[in-house]
Amino acid sequence: GAGVSQTPSNKVTEKGKYVELRCDPISGHTALYWYRQSLGQGPEFLIYFQGTGAADDSGLPNDRFFAVRPEGSVSTLKIQRTERGDSAVYLCASSLGQEETQYFGPGTRLLVL
């Protein structure tokens, strides 16, 4: 079956611009997660959705970052006023339920110039 998909696969933007990153989870998975991976590091947690609600957003670095999942399926990560330090690979994962196996998408590589 289809795995987690993310679009775009690559995004280049200029400092100060707004970007949106999309995640399509595996069908039927109620839990959805966003992570960020910098070069040479492991992924770091950003936010967790159970259904439509953000159950844990403690990993969001500041208020320029926001994520939504309005219908409990597709999620969008939104970054305002991008900074060069936001450059990283943004990974989405989904699981059937909380504390179950997480399956990761291919990521969006964001480069802020």
Partner: protein, 109 residues
């Protein structure tokens, strides 16, 4: 929060060799996963193994939850095994995976 340490940080092998990767974690966990990140960046699930032993082909994993460590065994390594291996454990709230820094494996023919 939970700390996850992986060793060794780097490993270089000849094709056909066996290896053991280790993951130590600082607190009890309900979920532990091993991933392989291939050169294209895709994180591939290897094992969901909060405790016990599992095997899948040339790979096997053992988690000793009471002693807070997990081991990943790779036998008869192949060049396609190259990449970064991550161990990740679930945080206490059950809402996120906490990743180690990974072990970078290079297998040469």
């Amino acid at each position: 929060g939970i700390q996850v340490e992986q060793s060794p940080p780097d490993l270089i092998l000849q094709e056909g060799a066996n290896s053991t990767l280790r993951c130590n974690f600082s607190d009890s966990v309900n979920n532990l996963q091993w991933f392989h990140q291939n050169p294209w960046g895709q994180l591939i699930n290897l094992f969901y193994i909060p405790s016990g032993t599992k095997q899948n082909g040339r790979l096997s994993a053992t988690t000793v939850a009471t002693e807070r460590y997990s081991l990943l065994y790779i036998s008869s390594s192949q060049t396609t095994d190259s990449g970064v291996y991550f161990c990740a454990v679930q945080n206490q709230a059950g809402t996120a995976l906490i990743f180690g820094k990974g072990t970078t494996l290079s297998v040469s023919s």
